[in-house]
């Protein structure tokens, strides 16, 4: 059975001009996409995008969910913003200088930057917003992300007042940021939504209601036009945006469609033109039906299993952790159960330019060799077919696709080692609580990087980090991360982080399974996006070509 595929466009899209210069300096990157040659813009410039859930809030400091990030990327703009390839470029700031020790950054704000009510965007706005983020009274869920800034952690832990944050507004257009240590990834951090500026008068006047369409003031390419809770959010072009002349879209509608199959149906019906997700099991069919409209590309995230280092059977048992690592045929799993949508992972860091991936030694051997080694290590760990390992894999309650994946992992361990492994599903909120309390020996873990830097992944194993659910602790690893944190030269820093990752692999500190991939359906007439590692496609660059049908 074949469904009516959206009619193909009678368009001669010949070539996409090089949209960005590949210059190393973010301040010199060109932002706007070139319009495809041989095509005309559609008269109505509007796009409907699907998000997987309704944003928990449109307050930049109060949200950490991806649907909110999508909308906030259009509503607000940080000191730096993202180019079409997801790399930092000047946003509310036009330029910046870095002190010799790498610990002080001075940002020069754009003279023409305006809020959606016409008021100028000033350094004071950023100061207010960042203090708000770290102030415990705000209740920001991810305040620790600002830890590179002087005093940020002490403020978030309630030890110092918010006014002591290491940020100064020297004048209306100059902002100085003092850092605890050189932070070469500061620009990548600055384009996170929780560092977007918020408009103080609106918050002081309307309290929690400041995010309602009638009250909100924002500084991005779009303004909030309408919101139907649980259903859709409509944005309209912000005429006060400093680069409004180069924004093509007049409006953007975000539909919250939590059901993936439903999102596909609505895409086929032409209701939405840019979706955020589809089920892996639908991929082969979608590829056949929609061809190039199915977009998968590497995404900065890893799916893995975590070991608890304080609980049996994994405590002080490296051979067992290694055996389990070796006996999983990742390639077969991703091929058969993920339909080649994801890449199998043998180490923590997804591929990142400039960083040398630290594949463990077994990555070079065949699965048969790995299985043989696994059996040996399994015996060394004190288990056998007569005395098998009995353990549960703790996962959240999930769809059949995910369940089958872990059933297959358990079956592989049973076939190769004779281990007796079953699935233990619990509600997501229960799983995260038990994980936080370190109650689970073996659990599903996943990490989508906040920004493309290895330290964002490696911190998951740093002693004392709240995200270190497995309580892994290795003095050498911690020392390498500490040394990297003080290293201003990024190349040297990367070498230290590579050693740290290698240490994790030597310890079999986790069990990598696959790297995430973006999953979009995008109509051919929606242009002005490039697949990128952080999977952020700002609507500011999008435009609609003339087309027939939906």
């Amino acid at each position: 059975m074949s469904l009516a595929a959206p009619r193909r466009l009678a368009l001669a899209v010949t070539a996409l001009l090089g949209a960005c210069s590949h210059h190393d300096d973010p301040q010199a990157r060109i932002t706007a996409p070139a319009i495809s040659v041989g095509s005309a813009l559609a008269g109505v410039q509007t796009v409907a995008r699907m998000i997987e859930d309704f944003p928990r809030s449109l307050d930049p400091q109060l949200t950490t969910d991806i649907p909110a990030q999508r909308v906030l990327d259009d509503l607000f703009e940080g000191l730096v913003t993202l180019d079409i390839d997801g790399r930092p470029i000047p946003g509310a700031a036009t330029s910046w200088q870095l002190s010799a020790d790498g610990k002080t950054w001075i940002f020069h704000l754009r003279e023409g930057a305006r809020w959606s009510n016409g008021a100028p965007v000033t350094a004071e706005d950023f100061l207010y917003s960042w203090r708000r983020e770290v102030d415990p009274k705000t209740g920001a869920g991810y305040a620790q992300a600002l830890s590179p800034i002087v005093n940020a952690m002490d403020i978030a832990l309630g030890r110092k007042p918010a006014e002591t944050l290491g940020v100064e507004a020297n004048d209306a257009h100059t902002l100085t940021v003092h850092l605890v240590a050189p932070t070469p990834y500061l620009l990548e951090l600055l384009d996170q939504v929780y560092l977007y500026p918020v408009y103080r008068p609106a918050i002081e006047r309307y309290g929690d209601d400041w995010v309602r369409p009638e009250h909100i003031v924002s500084n991005g390419a779009f303004a909030l036009h309408e919101e139907t809770i649980g259903n859709r959010i409509t944005l309209s072009a912000n005429p006060y945006y400093w680069d409004a002349a180069r924004v093509h879209l007049q409006s953007v509608v975000y539909y919250s469609i939590p059901d993936r199959a439903q999102a596909v149906l609505r895409y086929l019906a032409g209701d939405v033109q840019f979706t955020d997700s589809f089920a892996a099991s639908q991929r082969p069919w979608l590829k056949r039906t929609l061809g190039e409209q199915v977009v998968n590309s590497p995404w900065l995230g890893i799916y893995m299993l975590g070991f608890n280092f304080k609980l049996p059977p994994f405590r002080d048992n490296a051979p067992l952790r290694r055996a389990l690592n070796l006996a999983v045929d990742r390639a077969a799993l991703t091929r058969a159960l993920k339909y080649d949508m994801y890449q199998p992972a043998d180490t923590l860091m997804p591929p990142l330019s400039g960083y040398q991936p630290q594949h463990p030694p077994w990555a070079a051997s065949s699965q048969l060799e790995r299985n043989a080694l696994a059996q040996r290590l399994y015996r060394e760990a004190g288990y056998s077919r007569e005395h098998p390992l009995r353990v549960n894999i703790s996962t959240p309650v999930q769809g059949a696709d995910e369940r089958h994946y872990f059933e297959a992992v358990a079956a592989m361990w049973h076939a190769v080692l004779g281990a007796d492994v079953s699935l233990d599903e619990s509600e997501f909120r229960v799983l995260v609580q038990n994980r936080e309390l370190h109650l689970l020996p073996l659990y599903q873990a996943a990490w989508i990087g906040d920004f493309p830097d290895p330290v964002n992944f490696l911190q998951l194993f740093y002693s004392g980090n709240a995200l270190n659910y497995g309580l892994y602790s290795n003095a050498h690893f911690d020392a390498l991360l500490d040394a990297a944190a003080q290293e201003p030269d990024n190349a040297v820093r990367y070498r230290l982080l590579e050693q740290a990752e290698q240490q994790l692999n030597d310890d079999a500190a986790y069990l990598p399974l696959y790297y995430y991939a973006t999953r979009h359906l995008i109509k051919p007439y929606v242009q002005g996006w490039h697949s990128n590692l952080v999977d952020r496609n700002l609507s500011r660059y999008l435009y609609i070509l003339e087309h027939q049908g939906s």
């Binding site: 469904l3 009516a4 309704f54 928990r56 809030s57 449109l58 307050d59 109060l62 949200t63 950490t64 415990p136 009274k137 705000t138 209740g139 920001a140 869920g141 991810y142 305040a143 620790q144 978030a156 832990l157 309630g158 929690d208 209601d209 400041w210 995010v211 139907t228 809770i229 649980g230 259903n231 859709r232 539909y255 919250s256 469609i257 939590p258 059901d259 199959a261 439903q262 149906l265 609505r266 086929l268 019906a269 032409g270 209701d271 509600e427 997501f428 909120r429 229960v430 799983l431 995260v432 609580q433 936080e436 709240a466 995200l467 939906s550």
Partner: protein, 308 residues
Amino acid sequence: MLRYILRRVLESVPTLLLIVTLAFVLLHAAPGGPFAADKPMLPEIRRSIEARYHLEEPLWRQYLRYLADVLHGDLGPSFQYRNTSVNQIIAAGFPVDVSVGLSAIAVALLLGIPIGLNAAWRRNSLWDRIPMALAVAGISLPVFVIAPLLVLVFAVRLHWLPAADWVHGSPSHLVLPVLALSLPYIAYVARIVRGSALEVLASAYIRTARAKGLPTRRILLHHTLRPCLAPVVSFLGPTTAGVITISIVVETVFGLPGIGRFFVTGALNRDYTLVLGITILYGTLIILFNLLADLCYAWIDPRVRLES
């Protein structure tokens, strides 16, 4: 009559209180808290958020505080949707559920009653067998099968109707969800009406009417219909409350911003106030529609005495 209504309303107060208390205790007893998140919060920040929602207080005090707020018409802030109150969520979503739910009930009655009556009148003919076979299919096919099929046919393939979404005052957005929701109820109503009509048609006064030579139309509409409605009404009472509220599948498939979905996600996310607020609303609706059904019942069948 008024005394009866007043008594029923007063009786519903302890019932509602019991529902709220049970829901409150069960929610707080469930493992996992509203702020257990993928990225754990710093302790000071968690304390600040918990203080904001009074979660640090002993449970009995939280309970009394909640009851006092509810009596003042305030269902509290949502835990899951920061910046949004439960009142705002219900005010936005409930009218959608009411429009779709009541339209579905109306369609079920408008189609179900004539189909049932006709089937009973032409018993064992094709007019009886085909609709009744379809009715069995309508009852057995779950909404989550029918609804996507409707979208596939009418939106994706034929492009006649929008696949989903909700636009205030747009009838075309109402058609598919109402159809999907009403199909099983058309079938139920048709079968109930057919069953009771068969009994009525076999009774002596209908035989007399036919012997007098009254036209079929008059016999069916005037003499048969009213007694047939009694079982429909007792079916409709609790059903209407259910149709208005528990249409989560229809909400999901058609992207309707109703409150059914919030009820489920609220429970999964331990959004205590949101779940309690919707529970109170559902409880009130069920009590209300049962009362309405009893009143209608007395009106249709004069032998029923309300006071008894």
